[in-house]
Symmetry: C2
Subunit: 400 residues, 2 copies
């Protein structure tokens, strides 16, 4: 049963809504940013995992993606996409599926950061007429996967890829994940708080060395990556692609980016309250929200209950915002203070008396989530909206 | 493609595993507990949302469930279950689906805690030959949904149900959700920490008034509920069922429980690290885990990476346990310190040097989750295991 044609007031809640105009604008803006910089855009699909989203991200070309799971890569391959990077450290267990994708696609790339990965590929035969196309993941202080940029072992691994039979070095890849834990940037922060961290826990201690927010992360990452690329090239290795990603860094075009060849942000397609708090976007650019209904009034504790618990939003970002872990659209004074599996507990952020008659049982509230990648992952369908009418449904792939 | 017959080492990871023997024992133990107390068991299905799990919970009778979503109620109705309570505050928007379930089932019950809900049912016609069967939700200090036990308005609402045309009062229902935030119970806590809260945030301040853990929550809830029931009955209202739920309270049979008529716990089917920390079960009784693979060694920061990020576990319970938000089976010294969408970052809990050769790339680790309801919700299939072989697949329903 399709929801197309329904009004938001007719949808079962909680429901994940995508604003058609905003999502199109977010995608075309990132395409324009890359065009102006002379860089290729290799869009990360993990935020949405849909066909329709990836068509927008590639400007209709269906070429140039990076995925977070093999499942996504296979999904996009099946739907006519090509030039896909499985942007995750390759392990030998994945060889059969990686072999099949290499066979099916004109350009399928894997990511490596270990000698074991390179040697596994070198020992295996690529499909007839193909070579293994490999990106080397580099850690430029970002503390994710990747070879450490300062260590010679990383350069040695690039050489190992370069010299391995049947293996092609496609390029170098960095994810600036630490830009999510950098200090607050002062752009549009009317709904944001300083020092945003992902879930309030994992960011601790990660910003050591980054003093000036995502700009500094971006600049130091580029400087270190170019240093690493220079040392790789000194060994006679040809390294066609050099790219960085993350929405906080890629939403800040800077002149030094022209020394790269590609960018691979992902979250920008939807954005979220976290991106607002990092200065990557304005509240008005957030292209997704969760629709939820008021299910009860509890005046003896000055509280509303809504039908959005952690299965509808996740607990990520709890206490990061005045609104709890979300921004209540048109009701900035509301705060999601607690969630159980299917229920959200809403207080007044300032401790004022709630005006219950303004929130009748059954009425709708719209929540801009802290982390749209996490929230979208809770839904099997996204309702694409023009104003308050559903005009399309996007169905993401899930699993690994 | 079925996973039945595969070894755990052949599964795509992350994977959600259910131990067949343990899940059967957990279910039969709760049935026995209720039998000994002379109480009916109305099992909550929200932890697993599967047919097979509900068959075990009902001892094969397929009678006597409480669900957290309408989707679950419809799923179970379609698969031959009956005597189902949709254990969620009824709102008028749900009337069409509630009507259809009332028509289909011999016994379908809804939960109310507002005059609006009661009046909506009273004004609507139940299906031919049926009455609306209603449980009144009561808040006995548990701070979830429900009428406040001390207030006369709650008693008035019970009378309103009793007197409404076409409406039957099935009973009183309390969820002891606050038992998750009560003080630590001293049972088997070798892997547990004191003062466990759900996510470290939402429990704050909730245990005010509960001094001695889940036992105290149970006893005070029962005392208050019986007080409320007495006041309801004084008005001439017949109230057949009086029940409480939550695994921490129901895993502690106590003499005063024989004044109730039913229990409705749910998490006990799987249990999890949170239940261990609350003293509801032992580590050996936890019937589910996540299988994950080592994907990289990062000796320059003394860290392993695994292929289980927040889409495979959720971030709930972060920093609640020595193992982060999970218990590493057979490796108590490991700690899941951080998660991105698809990657977990594993440190030594004591800051000791990791022995990387004990955790080769591709090797498996098993994680007992902090909150199995949340972790299970991330999977579309559960692999049911006898030792290390998959013997069955359970496929949960999702959505609302």
């Amino acid at each position: 049963m399709t929801s197309v044609g329904l009004r938001v007031s007719e949808l079962t809640t909680p429901a994940f809504l995508v604003d058609k105009a905003k999502v199109e604008t977010n995608c075309s803006n990132m395409i324009d940013t890359c065009k102006k910089l002379g860089l290729k855009l290799r869009a990360q699909t993990k935020t949405h995992k849909t066909i329709e989203g990836a068509v927008l991200q590639t400007g209709g070309s269906k070429r140039g993606l990076v995925t977070s799971t093999l499942q996504e890569a296979e999904f996009y391959a099946t739907h006519g996409f090509d030039d896909i990077l499985y942007g995750y450290p390759f392990i030998p267990f994945h060889l059969p599926r990686v072999t099949e994708l290499t066979r099916r696609l004109e350009q399928f790339h894997v990511l490596v950061d270990s000698a074991l990965a390179v040697d596994t590929l070198a020992k295996a035969s690529p499909p007839p007429g193909k070579a293994w196309s490999v990106f080397l993941k580099v850690d430029c202080g970002n503390k994710r996967a990747g070879v450490w940029w300062e260590e010679d072992g990383g350069v040695d691994l690039a050489v190992r890829v370069w010299e391995a039979a049947g293996v092609t070095l496609a390029g170098l890849y960095v994810h600036c994940g630490d830009s999510y834990h950098a200090e607050h940037h002062d752009k549009d922060t009317s709904n944001a708080v300083a020092g945003a961290g992902d879930g309030g826990k994992e960011g601790e201690g990660e910003s050591a060395g980054w003093a000036e927010g995502p700009d500094k992360v971006r600049d130091q990452t580029i400087e270190r990556l170019l240093n690493f690329a220079g040392r790789v090239r000194e060994g006679g290795v040809v390294c066609p692609t050099i790219g960085i990603g993350s929405t906080p860094t890629c939403s800040r075009p800077a002149p030094n980016m022209n020394q790269l060849t590609e960018l691979h942000p992902g979250n920008y397609i939807f954005c979220d309250a976290q991106q607002v708090s990092l200065g990557s976007c304005q509240v008005s650019e957030v292209a997704c929200c969760v629709a939820t209904r008021v299910i009860g009034h509890y005046p003896h504790r000055n509280q509303l209950l809504i039908d959005c618990g952690f299965t509808g939003l996740t607990k990520q970002g709890m206490d990061q915002l005045p609104g709890g872990c979300c921004i209540f659209k048109d009701h900035a004074h509301l705060r999601l203070s607690k969630m159980t599996q299917e229920i959200g507990f809403v207080d007044d952020a300032n401790g004022d008396q709630l005006e219950f008659d303004k929130f009748p049982i059954g009425s709708l509230l719209l929540l801009l989530p802290w982390h749209s990648c996490a929230t979208a992952a809770m839904y099997s369908v996204y309702h694409v909206m023009v104003e308050d009418e559903v005009v399309d449904e996007w169905r993401p792939t899930r699993g690994w």
